[in-house]
């Protein structure tokens, strides 16, 4: 199958998946006890006020009717209005999405080179103390849930030593340096979580290739071990490594939810969690769409890159 056809296919399936996800989310939110009106009014609710808000916002319509309305508006480019504060959803999302991408991007810039470096190092000195140290510590990091790592970092660096802030509040009028300083702990948390995966895949892919006849040939050409690993094994290991890197990038954007909540970081994840609590359906739908689209497109990118990384396909006969 040609690459273009593959991409077209994957995009079509991706769009269908996205629509199914939004439908599921609508149904799930509906299944939760309470609706927006009850959550909003809380203790002060009387049956009359609840009925009034429901009528005003059209919450009395069946969920499928409301979903259909949302979908047809969305397809015309209108993401709707937040139930909570009556502002357009697109406006609310813009800054939050920027913050989340900043956090994910900064983590990726640290984590990807670090993982590759550690993976190559572990493969190069396989079965040595260094290899075992790297493998064990990354394995330990991956075994702990990210919120736990986050709280440990807070306990050590914010409470105990008071070096970094425990709450990562950032805003548009901060400089880049201030932003990085404020979000250092969440970046560290995310890095801990994703380095292990990428590092272990790099190590495994290289070691797997070290059995190949062309590696034996490189050895018998009298090359240094470092050159054999980096120049001969790594380029052929790229396909699985790229795959795991891109999947981890997808995880960064999506998995950021928990970390944002831990550090009260004003990103998309925190917005979504708050909106679920207040049953603010338009915002939840929009967040889910962004997360879903990111995940699907990064997965597609992983497939495309691993196809392209094969020299046989890049340089046909």
């Amino acid at each position: 199958m040609g690459l273009t056809r593959l991409i077209a296919n994957r995009i079509a399936f991706g769009l269908i998946t996205l629509i199914v996800i939004t439908l599921l989310i609508s149904l799930a939110l509906e299944a939760l006890p309470g609706d927006f009106a009850e959550q909003r009014l809380g203790q002060s609710a009387t049956p009359e006020t609840i009925a009034a808000i429901r009528a005003q916002l059209g919450l009395n319509e069946p969920i499928l009717v409301r979903y259909w309305q949302w979908l047809s508006n969305f397809l015309q480019g209108d993401m709707g209005i937040s139930l909570s504060n009556s502002r357009p959803v697109s406006e609310l999302l813009a800054t939050r999405l920027g913050n989340t991408l900043f956090l994910a991007g900064a983590s990726a810039i640290v984590a990807v080179p670090l993982a590759l470096f550690l993976g190559i190092l572990a493969a190069l000195y396989r079965e040595s103390l260094l290899d075992k140290l790297i493998s064990t510590s990354t394995l330990a990091a991956i075994s702990l849930p990210e919120f736990f790592i986050g709280y440990i970092l807070v306990a050590l660096f914010a409470v105990n030593w008071q070096i970094f802030p425990a709450i990562s509040s950032i805003s548009d009028n901060m400089t880049l340096g201030e932003k990085i300083y404020a979000s250092l702990l969440p970046i560290a948390t995310l890095t801990f979580v994703i380095v292990a995966h990428m590092m272990r895949m790099t190590r495994a892919a290289i070691i797997n290739l070290m059995q190949s006849p062309f590696i034996e040939m490189a050895t018998l050409k009298g090359l240094k071990r470092g050159r054999i690993v980096v120049h001969h094994a790594l380029p052929n290991a790229l396909s699985p490594i790229i795959n795991v890197i891109v999947l981890n990038l997808a995880y960064l954007v999506v998995g950021v939810v928990v970390v944002e909540v831990v550090f009260i970081y004003p990103g998309l994840g925190l917005l979504m969690v708050d909106s679920v609590t207040s049953r603010d359906l338009p915002i939840v739908q929009a967040c889910i769409l962004i997360f879903g689209a990111t995940y699907i497109s990064l997965n597609m990118l992983a497939d495309i890159l691993s196809i392209i990384s094969n020299p046989r396909l890049r340089h046909p006969r």
């Binding site: 059995q211 190949s212 006849p213 062309f214 034996e216 040939m217 490189a218 050895t219 018998l220 050409k221 009298g222 090359l223 240094k224 050159r227 120049h231 001969h232 380029p235 052929n236 020299p311 046989r312 340089h315 006969r317």
Partner: protein, 538 residues
């Protein structure tokens, strides 16, 4: 002559297998002079590759040096540090492997892999090394030598790639090259070009070489001296003509006598209807790549029809099309005059039963987690519904038929040797009581002496059971041994067919001629004569 370039004394190497260290090379001595070519010959497990790469101070994973000394150019290789040994590898001694396709890095261009050795060792600058590469490609008669280096390994043919590897081994003009079965994976016609290239290079640069192979006819073309090895021991060592004319050991005589088996193909009678009749058969992969075109072939009962051709000629595809694994796009396959459905899925159990296959690699064709009882018993259960004690009895009968002890019924397949495994594959095919067995390169992965035993077994079974064989092979020696009829295939078409004697006696089709003349003979001057005669023709 002076001091030998390579002096090995009492070399001992062990390999780790079945949870213990076992000797694989037992005290071998080698003396090799500058410019001399030494042939190492033996069957698999003789330790010849292990000795070859040991000269470079290298042991494959799972092997270890135990004792002995290796002296190259006055330096004790076995005593060097790993940094010092790197300076010998590629510069003093270089290596040519069996499969160039696997030994070239798929991610880098040919010329980059060529210049890597001299540049990394600081022998030459990149520009000079690249210039040498182009000159060397020209010397080895590679097409477009100025640009072929810019290609990736998968972009050149198998024979060209093998020659590019020979060129790469010459990049630092080493004193010694180890050739480890460099032509074994090639077709006979391609083998010639690589052999000629190696011979030319070794003479031109007066390079010493160790040439490792299992094929005596190949090594006599190149070697000044031959060492015959078996199970890590030296059997016999002499000048090449001595080995050929006056072998001292029985084992050497066995190796020389290999392929003397000839099937007795007299009194061939034709039935009223051929057992298999193929008409106007076409097949393709994915409807685009045509692999078979207009195949017409009929096979009489009780005969052996050999299908010969190089890799890519479509001979295995023909077997797949006949058995319905690859439904043909056009044409018919008749069995006893009745047309078979195109796909195996539409054929009845009885139709399926009549055609069985045996494959090239018995290791891969047998489930390693099954005992012979299940392997051979499965077709009995599937086709005839036989099980329990009756099945065991039949399995034992079949084991006797293929000359294996009946108590092997409780063995797992990995406990058997390569030849025994191929026997089990034969028994499995026989269990279905087929009319035809398609043998796809069944002896190619086996050592020659073992292969000969398998051919004899197949011949005996044919006589006893009136079996019909379709024998797919690229090996003309096998064809001469067992065929009644020969079909020569080239690029998906049949170029010549007929009774064995007709096809093998001139005049041939020009491709048949090429194939026949390319089979190495046990004559040290065969290659030179052949190249000479081909040069005068062209």
């Amino acid at each position: 002559m002076g001091e030998p370039i390579l002096k090995i004394r009492n070399l001992q190497i062990e390999g780790f297998a079945d949870e213990q260290w076992k000797p694989i090379v037992n005290g071998i001595d080698i003396d090799l002079n500058r410019g001399e070519v030494l042939g190492l010959i033996g069957e698999s497990g003789a330790g010849k590759s292990t000795i070859g790469i040991a000269t470079m101070g290298y042991c494959r994973p799972g092997c270890r040096f135990v004792g002995g000394t290796i002296e190259f150019d006055g330096v004790r290789v076995d005593e060097l540090t790993s940094a010092q040994i790197r300076e010998v590898r590629g510069v003093g001694i270089s290596y040519v492997a069996q499969s160039a396709a696997a030994s070239f890095n798929p991610a880098h261009r040919l010329i980059d892999q060529y210049v890597e050795t001299p540049v990394q060792h600081g022998v030459l600058k990149f520009q000079q090394a690249a210039k040498n590469a182009r000159a060397m490609y020209a010397t080895l008669d590679l097409p477009d030598p100025d640009n072929i280096g810019k290609r990736f390994p998968h972009q050149v043919s198998g024979g060209q790639l093998q020659r590019a590897m020979v060129a790469m081994a010459m990049s630092c003009e080493p004193d010694l090259i180890i050739f480890d079965e460099p032509t074994t994976a090639l077709d006979v016609t391609t083998q010639i070009e690589v052999l000629a290239a190696i011979k030319d290079i070794v003479h031109r640069f007066n390079t010493a070489a160790i040439y490792i192979t299992h094929d005596l006819a190949v090594v006599v073309q190149l070697a000044d001296r031959i060492m015959v090895l078996r199970y890590g021991d030296l059997v016999e060592e002499s000048k090449t003509h001595e080995i050929l004319n006056n072998p001292k050991e029985d084992y050497t005589r066995d190796l020389l006598a290999v392929r003397t088996f000839r099937k007795n193909s007299e009194d061939l009678v034709s039935g009223p209807v051929p057992l298999i009749d193929i008409n106007n058969l076409h097949a393709s992969y994915g409807g685009e790549i045509k692999v078979l075109e207009d195949i017409n072939l009929s096979v009489e009962k009780g005969r052996t029809v050999a299908i010969v051709g190089e890799s890519g000629s479509g001979k295995s595809t023909l077997a797949r099309a006949m058995t319905g694994l690859l439904p043909p796009s056009q044409g018919t396959v008749k069995y006893s005059g009745i047309e078979l459905p195109k796909s195996y899925k539409e054929r009845t159990k009885d139709q399926l039963r009549q055609m069985q296959m045996i494959y090239q690699m018995p290791d891969v064709a047998l489930n390693p987690r099954q005992k012979l009882r299940e392997v051979i018993g499965r077709p009995l259960g599937f086709y005839f519904g036989i099980d329990g004690g009756e099945r065991d009895r039949r399995v034992k009968e079949l084991l006797e038929m293929i000359e294996l002890p009946t108590n092997y019924i409780d063995r797992f397949t990995p406990e058997l040797s390569g030849g025994q495994k191929q026997r089990v594959c034969i028994a499995r095919a026989l269990a279905a009581q087929p009319a035809v067995i398609i043998c796809d390169e069944v002896t190619s992965a086996l050592d020659q002496l073992v292969a000969e035993e398998i051919l004899k077994l197949l011949d005996r079974l044919q006589k006893e059971l009136e079996m019909t064989y379709l024998f797919i092979t690229h090996d003309l020696a096998t064809v001469k041994a067992i065929a009644d009829e020969i079909v020569v295939m080239l690029r998906g078409r049949i170029v010549e067919s007929g009774l064995k004697d007709e096809v093998l006696t001139p005049p041939h089709h020009e491709y048949t001629e090429l194939l026949l003349s390319s089979v190495p003979e046990m004559d040290p001057h065969w290659l030179d004569r052949l190249l000479e005669s081909r040069a005068t023709v062209n």
